[in-house]
Each structure stands twice: as structure tokens, then as C-alpha cells.
């Protein structure tokens, strides 16, 4: 009897490992920035370039930093989700316009609506490197102390909002 049980158990274990492996997304590289302070920057605002914005301005608030671009295809998929979130007024969304031109970014926001309190331009992608951005869109949840608590790689979906981002935001806001 043992003769059959042992290979069967080994087969099941192997099958489970391979099945889980199939469902892992190799594009989702865990960020080393989780639980670390959000890298500082001072960048011109997209709509009013003479004004700047810096994460330090957000001290004491829980906020989302959404990396987007007018050339980014998945951002289109994410856009309505962000618009709906912005209307609910739960958490402020700030945009980092990554490797984009202000003219095209403005046109894109005019067409699809602007879910952001404000956006800043990272035209050369340097701040993106500091944040470990490698696939736009990406979204960071930053707490009251300016610590990155979560990073969503790829578009924010209704599922990821409901299951991960909003519960986390509520928890951080209560602190």
C-alpha cells in the first residue's frame, strides 16, 4: 500500500507547487520600499508649473501616489476606477506624471477627467527610479508619517481597492 501512497503524495505536493507557480505573476516584483519612508522630491505641478509639490507636504495624511502617463495603455483601464474613488472622497489621490509631456498629459486629463488633487511632472523619469517604478501604472499607499505601506503594481482594479487598498487606508487613517 505504502508503495502507492508515497509517490502519490509526492505527485500532489509537486502539482500544488507548480499550480501555485503558474498563478504567480513574474512581473510583480516585491518592492523593497514597503515600510520605508517615501523618497523625497520636489517637482513642479502639472497644472501650475510655478508651484511645486513634495511628499513632505502630506505629513499627517494618508494618501495615494499614482504613477501614470498619457502614453500608458493600462492607465486607461485604471482611470474610471480612480475617477470613482476620487468622487467618494475617502483618500486623496496625487498623480506622478511619468515621462510625459505636460501638453499631452493635460489633454489626456481633459478628455477622461482628472481624479487627482494635483499631479506633478516627472518628465525624465528620475523620481520614478527613486520609487522603483518599472511598469506604469503603479500606486503607492503612504501613511501619516510618510511611510510607504503598500505598492500596487499595474492598474488599480475594483477588486484590489476593495480587498487591499481601502481596508489598509481605513486602518492607517484610524491610527
Amino acid at each position: 500500500m505504502m508503495r502507492f501512497i508515497l509517490p502519490f503524495v509526492v505527485f500532489i505536493v509537486l502539482a500544488v507547487f507548480l499550480f501555485v507557480g503558474l498563478n504567480l505573476n513574474p512581473r510583480e516584483v516585491p518592492s523593497p520600499l514597503i515600510d520605508k519612508p517615501a523618497p523625497a522630491f520636489t517637482l513642479p505641478q502639472l497644472h501650475e508649473p510655478q508651484k511645486t509639490f513634495s511628499p513632505a507636504d502630506m505629513q499627517g495624511k494618508v494618501w495615494l501616489l499614482n504613477v501614470w502617463a498619457s502614453w500608458c495603455v493600462s492607465c486607461r483601464e485604471e482611470h474610471p476606477v480612480l475617477m470613482a474613488l476620487a468622487q467618494q472622497n475617502i483618500v486623496p489621490i496625487y498623480g506622478l506624471d511619468y515621462k510625459d509631456t505636460p501638453a499631452e498629459a493635460e489633454r489626456w486629463l481633459q478628455k477622461g477627467g482628472d481624479p487627482y488633487v494635483l499631479s506633478v511632472s516627472d518628465a525624465e523619469g528620475r523620481i520614478g527610479i527613486d520609487y522603483g517604478v518599472y511598469g506604469v501604472p503603479e500606486t503607492y499607499v503612504i501613511d501619516k508619517q510618510g511611510i510607504i505601506r503598500y505598492k500596487q503594481i499595474g492598474p488599480v482594479t475594483p477588486d484590489s481597492l476593495r480587498e487591499k487598498i481601502l481596508p489598509l487606508v481605513a486602518e492607517l487613517q484610524a491610527k
Partner: protein
Amino acid sequence: MKRLLILMLCLLPSLAFAGEAQDMAADPVLEKRMIGLAEKLRCLVCQNESLASSHAELAEDLRREVRELMQQGMSDQEILDYLVARYGDFVLYDPPMKKTTLVLWYGPFALLLLGAGVLVFQLRKRKSEIAEPQLTDEQAAQAAALLAEQPATSTQTKDPQA
């Protein structure tokens, strides 16, 4: 007119290359050092390519970043640490040995040992199964008697024709 057009078209590629070559010419030693380091780094966009060979926009930006950090006088190790702090160990083709990478480094050897152990166990088990049974004196005598009998019986069955 047509010939002039063809000539102009032929010259187009050289114009396209001019932009890229400029950077290289700026400081060939630094460029060589940068490419050497970039070969040890993974491009996060196209994950099976090194940062040196990738044409992804992010790879170009990161090469620019590495070039600038080198100009600022950072050592290769400092630059690797700088990138790991942003992108994680995944960016290295040769990940360091630490708690989270123990399975990565020792897992294959552990599996090899496990496999060898199972093999040895199975071989021993089989050896004990096929070992010759020890005969008692009585059984040995019986066997000898049977063997002695055999030639006679076999000649009996064969002989009728002879």
C-alpha cells in the same frame, strides 16, 4: 532627382545612429565600465534581458542613471546598493546569500540530498528483498536430493527417441 532622393534615403540611417554614438564617445572608459556593470543587472521590463542589452525605455533611463552615478564618483558596489534599495534583489543576476534567499541557494542541494537518500534507501530495501534465503540443513539435504534426481528424470523424457 530620383538619384538624389535615393542617396538621401541611404544617408538616413547614419543620421539615426549619430545620436546614440555621441554618448559613447563622451567617455569611452566610463561607458565600458557602465556596460560591464549593467551586464550584471536585470532589466525589470523585459526580465530575461540584462540592463546592458535591453532597449526598454526604463533600461535606457537606468543606464543614464548608472552613468551619472559613476561620474559622481560612486563605486560599482555603491551603485549596486543604490539600485537594490529601489528595485530589490531581483535586479541582480547574482543575488546575495541571506535569509530570504537561502532556499534559492541551498534548495537544489537539499533536493539532491533528499533524492540520493531515497535512492540509497530503496536500493538497500531491494537488496534485503532479493537476498538468498538461508536454508536449514534439512532443506539443503532435500534440495541436494532433488538435484541428484533431476538428471535421471530429464534423460527419461529425452531418451525415447535415442
